[in-house]
């Protein structure tokens, strides 16, 4: 019965109170009792509950998620990192998934089953409605920036971020000129088929499919200029499997497309086994989880402290003495690595330096 009450209360609480108030109420009433009563709301972690699972194609499912109050409102095109205890050993494994839909308080991810992938296998085989998953707040720069003419180029499950931008733009009255190019193996494997057709019928979005055994006209990625004569005027959003992205990139290079107008979605993967002695010299992305912002540190700036690097980007971090004595800047490392002043998972940004390509701080 308690479960039914919780199932009924969660969407209501998040909708009526809003995440901000819910956070205020939950964080101030957190104790051993409330944490047991409802670990979804009384939690320090960003979590999401699966509230619906839809079969999109034979090997693709959409999971509609209700995130708790720690989730920040996403922008269409952004992605989340999902962590599950997958595989035989049950160790925590993470993967990034673009949000395919953003609907008020819920978000969806659309996942293609990759038999070798631990997380997608787990989602396809074990996930059930009402299960709670650990997710991150939305991240990423693959978002619409008020351009006038767009072209989405996507393939397979790579349609997800493009689709969520498309749906958001479709609702706008002053919609930009949108062209949408989608490559999939067969018509049956076309994700969001009916929804795409609806959008195509109801508005003037130009959607074209590229499929191996399609009866209609079908352009290959290296014929894009024929399909879209105004291609060079358009801002391109590219997302898909690695070989597809490379093929398109190569093609765009040969036709001398201005690559500044190109936005590619790729997920930064956390690399492990960083040497602690050598100075790190790659570009670093730093995420500030609680504030849901991120900033870049260029390779040449990796000898700056995290605090200085943030300040260079105009981001204020709490700090005091700037020399590791007062502890004001102290924060916890969620993932990634740093060198310098640290104590277990606690690090002191004023005297710590980045040491992995991605650093996630609380």
């Amino acid at each position: 019965m308690l479960n039914n009450i919780r199932t009924a209360i969660h969407p209501w609480a998040i909708k009526k109170l809003g995440r901000d108030w819910l956070e205020y109420l939950a964080s101030n009433t957190m104790n051993v009792v409330t944490e047991r009563l409802d670990p979804f709301i009384w939690s320090y972690d960003c979590k999401a509950k699966i509230i619906e699972i839809r079969q999109e194609t034979q090997d693709t499912k959409t999971f509609v998620l209700l995130p708790n109050q720690h989730f920040k409102q996403p922008l269409p095109g952004q992605h989340i990192e999902l962590t599950v205890n997958a595989g035989n050993t049950g160790e925590a494994t993470s993967r990034c998934y673009s949000l395919s839909e953003i609907n008020g308080d819920t978000v969806s991810i659309t996942v293609k089953h990759n038999p070798e992938g631990k997380v997608s296998s787990w989602l396809h085989q074990n996930a059930e409605v009402d299960m709670v998953l650990n997710i991150s707040s939305p991240r990423g720069h693959f978002v619409y920036r008020d351009q006038k003419k767009l072209l989405f180029i996507c393939a397979g499950a790579g349609i997800t971020p493009c689709f969520s931008i498309l749906k958001a733009l479709d609702k706008k009255t002053d919609r930009p000129d949108i062209a949408f190019y989608y490559r999939s193996r067969t018509p049956n494997e076309t994700i969001f088929k009916t929804q795409l057709e609806q959008i195509q019928n109801s508005s003037n979005v130009n959607i074209s499919y590229s499929r191996h055994d399609d009866a209609g006209i079908s352009y290959l990625p290296n014929q894009l200029l024929e399909a879209y004569p105004d291609l060079k005027d358009r801002d391109i959003y590219l997302c898909g499997p690695e070989p597809f992205k490379n093929a398109v990139l190569e093609y765009l290079n040969t036709i001398k497309y201005d690559l500044n107008k190109l936005e590619i979605e790729h997920f930064v993967r956390i690399d492990s086994g960083i040497s602690q002695t050598r100075k790190f010299d790659e570009d670093v992305t730093v995420f500030l989880k609680s504030r849901n912002i991120s900033f870049m540190i260029e390779a040449k700036d990796c000898d700056k402290t995290l605090l200085e690097a943030a300040e260079d980007q105009g981001i204020h971090l709490e700090h005091g003495c700037r020399s590791g004595m007062c502890g004001t800047c102290r924060t916890n490392l969620v993932s990634g690595q740093v060198t310098g002043n640290q104590l277990g998972k606690s690090i002191y940004p004023c005297t710590a330096y980045p040491a992995s390509a991605q650093v996630v701080l609380e």
Partner: protein, 385 residues
């Protein structure tokens, strides 16, 4: 003489290293002991809360006062031994206790945590006793040294604080941390904020943000203490006002207790130069010089949130406070070796009367401008010449 200067520099390097060694030793030793300690304190706080609220709720009339000391213990431990120390990040490195991580912790006190961390950890602990920098030198509008320009409010500072500010001391903190006090002085004082530290709005808060942050911090306490529990008593057939008054009494005692604890540890000490921050050894010395301990047993220290070990707290603000009594022995040895000031009052009362005298003395305008007491570093420098 370069050699003398050199040896002087070396001395501060050694001092710095000596204190770093103490810190490093305790950082290495952090572990289950600290987790058990803070969890234990929380458990006691809960037990005291249940006893206190139950007695206040159920006992008739004046007998309900028996619950007040228990409720006071709960609120006091939550406010300082848990809240103050946790917000310093003393327990951040223990992953298994997220409830005691500085950025996740929520105070059972009417103070906005983020603004407090910035003001207290980032400013007071860095610029301790620095004129026009350290907001804790005045806690509103106190005049505690002759450098602060005198005005007519200061004649009454002692009674105003004793009777009106201390009973609600914690409710005054947001005004200090979010800029309310600056506006008050701007409006009421002829010279405005001259002589006072002003709020540095690092979070770029608008007036509305400030209002929301303040209200949220205060109302979570007011609703619990003065609406929720009195109402619960009422609907179960007990007196609404009995509970309200008892909670008010516990709240006031707690506010008074904390005010007398925190004010007794810096105001009697000399002003410090801001330059000390440029050299880590000198910074440690300026922290020694601007803080004063008062003695008490380990149990008493818990009720003072270990703020009676103010010297150790200012040297090592993010080391779990229950370690200060042990660290104090090591700190004293370093002070003896390098001939550094280590100040301590014999008891709480001596500390209180000492700083009350300061409040009284600076209530009045000096007939002639008094020289400001020099800090240890300044005295030492002039002595060397």
């Amino acid at each position: 003489m370069p050699s003398k200067e050199h040896s002087n520099e070396q001395r501060f390097d050694e001092i710095h290293q000596a204190f770093e060694n103490i810190k490093e030793k305790h950082r290495k030793d952090l572990g289950q002991k600290d987790v058990r300690y803070i969890k234990g304190i929380r458990r006691y706080s809960r037990i005291f809360e249940v006893i206190g609220r139950a007695l206040i709720w159920c006992l008739p009339g004046p007998l309900a006062l028996l619950g007040v000391p228990f409720l006071f213990l709960h609120r006091n431990m939550e406010a300082i031994e848990i809240g103050h120390n946790v917000l310093h990040g003393q327990y951040d490195s223990f992953e298994e206790i997220p409830q005691f991580h500085s950025r996740k912790f929520r105070w059972k006190a009417p103070i906005d945590e983020a603004a407090w961390r910035q003001e207290h950890n980032g400013i007071h602990h860095v610029h301790t006793n620095v004129y026009e920098k350290d907001p804790d030198l005045n806690h509103g509008f106190l005049r505690t040294n002759s450098k602060v320009p005198h005005n007519k409010w200061h004649y009454f500072q002692l009674p105003i604080y004793l009777f009106f500010v201390y009973p609600g001391m914690l409710y005054n903190f947001n005004a200090q941390n979010l800029g309310g006090n600056d506006k008050f002085r701007e409006r009421r004082f002829p010279l405005g904020n001259k002589g006072y530290a002003v709020f540095d709005n690092t979070e770029h808060l608008t007036d509305d943000d400030v209002k929301i942050r303040h209200n949220r911090a205060v109302w979570r306490v007011l609703v619990k203490e003065y609406i929720l529990f009195p109402l619960l008593a009422l609907i179960t057939g007990y007196s609404f006002f009995k509970v309200l008054l008892a909670n008010l009494l516990a709240d006031m005692i707690n506010n008074y207790w904390i005010a007398l604890t925190i004010q007794a540890t810096h105001l009697t000490e000399p002003l410090q130069s801001e330059d000390a921050l440029k050299n880590k050894g000198k910074w440690y010395v300026s922290q020694l010089d601007s803080s004063v301990n008062f003695k008490g047993t380990r149990w008493q220290s818990i009720l003072w949130g270990h703020l009676n070990y103010q010297v150790e707290h200012h040297l090592f603000p993010d080391i779990p406070a229950h370690r200060y009594p042990d660290m104090a022995i090591e700190v004293q040895q370093v002070c003896e070796k390098y001939n550094l000031p280590y100040k301590s009052n014999e008891n709480w009362w001596q500390a209180i009367s000492g700083y009350m005298k300061v409040l009284w003395r600076y209530s009045f305008k000096e007939s002639e401008s008094l020289p400001v007491e020099a800090s240890f570093l300044e005295k030492e420098a002039s002595h060397a010449k």
